[in-house]
Symmetry: C2
Subunit: 255 residues, 2 copies
């Protein structure tokens, strides 16, 4: 089996912590990284505070194979991510000649100090293309620095994702039931899990039609084994008097 | 000025990290806590792994005034939050007599081992009412342990929020513009921020009608000062040839 590849996501922004803005990048990045066989093992949301950024980046870049940050690389005074990452890597924060050229070409006679500040990078940064608004993201070692605006964050990820080295892709299959709840099947489900330590079974209750149903997600790297475990789970649900749905049922509270 | 009150949110769940499920609790809790004058200084999403839960809980409960966790307190084998928190506090994990009574009353002759497992708590836990599905959350010192299902997490928070001690509520006012971008006003905005260190000015670009606009959020504890700073910002936008909108403009990428 190939080595497990890990990642963390660092969302940098007071606006998420204050509840002003609902983050839209965590779910996208987690889903896309999982699909590439990169396991997101931790997500942190931290404020636009230099010391917090430095500590989180240095912790995560040593602990995980990849770090992806979003937020704080724009043209205003509250965008301190790039300068903080220079400090985390203990390198100068300086004008990046290629970024400078991209921004001068884009802005022409509308170039000004605020905009050209986005050409400042940690020394050694490799640029990440921004097809939306031009000001690039960047990569330092295993740290990928994206914008916070979801459309731009996604475009930046799209631009680098083919260069990311993933491990074995985690496969999954979901079976669900509207008419048995976690409590009914919990003990037997535990036995199924104990019999099959090579898969992870997740149990996620939901509300629908005023009652509780359950989504049971079997995850692993061997599809035949996953299917066999799903068959066991289906038999268990039927034995408990429930009806099986092959696939996920969307609960009401998530709509 | 009253002491700043801080909190962290710990979202516990493999399903968020794998991208299967989009978290719906962070934004709700961050917004509600901010409204009570409790500043969320960090959010972490961690897996259903005992050691990770222990380390995160112990880190956060020492660093912040409050910790709120969501996820992992259900009836199945993958619900390990309560047992892990007992280990974090180094207390026995045992049957809680009041929780036991609540669950027996609720389930009657449908009580079984899986369901009654939800009556197991760290010694010393104070129960948090669950009006939706009865199985209670709990509080240990400054750590509040909620379910992950958003409807239940919200009901649990509603039940405890009047007991939370908040500090000065952060006030804010937003002005926005569709026709100036961050880059146009960035330098002057920095001057406004430098002149008014007692407020925090956040600048949040958005896409609309194919162009970039900006939301400028002024936050602080003195409404008169916030309003004065907003006036300065409005004048600055007009000087740059832009039109001011009093309030927030929703960008397209967040829809």
């Amino acid at each position: 089996m190939s080595k497990k590849i890990t990642a963390s996501i660092l969302v940098i922004g007071n606006e998420i912590l204050s509840g002003r803005t609902q983050d839209a990048n965590i779910h996208y990045l987690a889903y896309e990284l999982s699909a590439k066989g990169i396991n997101v093992d931790e997500v942190r949301v931290i404020p636009d505070v230099e010391q917090e950024i430095i500590e989180a980046v240095n912790h995560c870049r040593q602990k995980f194979d990849y770090v992806f940050t979003t937020g704080g690389i724009g043209a205003t005074h509250d965008d301190i991510t790039a300068a903080s990452i220079a400090k985390a890597f203990d390198v100068p924060f300086e004008l990046h000649s290629k970024a400078n050229r991209i921004l001068l070409d884009h802005y022409g006679d509308k170039a000004n100090a605020a905009r050209m500040r986005m050409a400042m990078m940690p020394r050694g940064a490799e640029l990440i293309d921004n097809p939306v608004s031009k000001a690039p993201g960047f990569k330092m070692d295993n740290v990928y620095v994206f914008a916070g605006v979801p459309l731009i964050a996604r475009a930046m990820f799209e631009g680098v994702k083919n260069n990311l080295l993933g491990g074995a892709v985690t496969l999954s299959r979901t079976v669900s039931s509207l008419d048995v709840s976690e409590g009914v099947i919990g003990e037997n489900l535990r036995l199924v899990q104990d019999q099959h330590p090579d898969v992870d079974i997740g149990s996620y209750p939901f509300l629908k039609f005023g009652g509780f149903g359950v989504n049971l997600v079997v995850r692993g790297v061997n599809q035949a084994l996953i299917d066999a475990v799903c068959e066991d789970i289906c038999a268990m649900i039927k034995q408990a008097g429930g009806t099986v749905i092959d696939g996920e049922t969307q609960g009401e509270e998530l709509k």
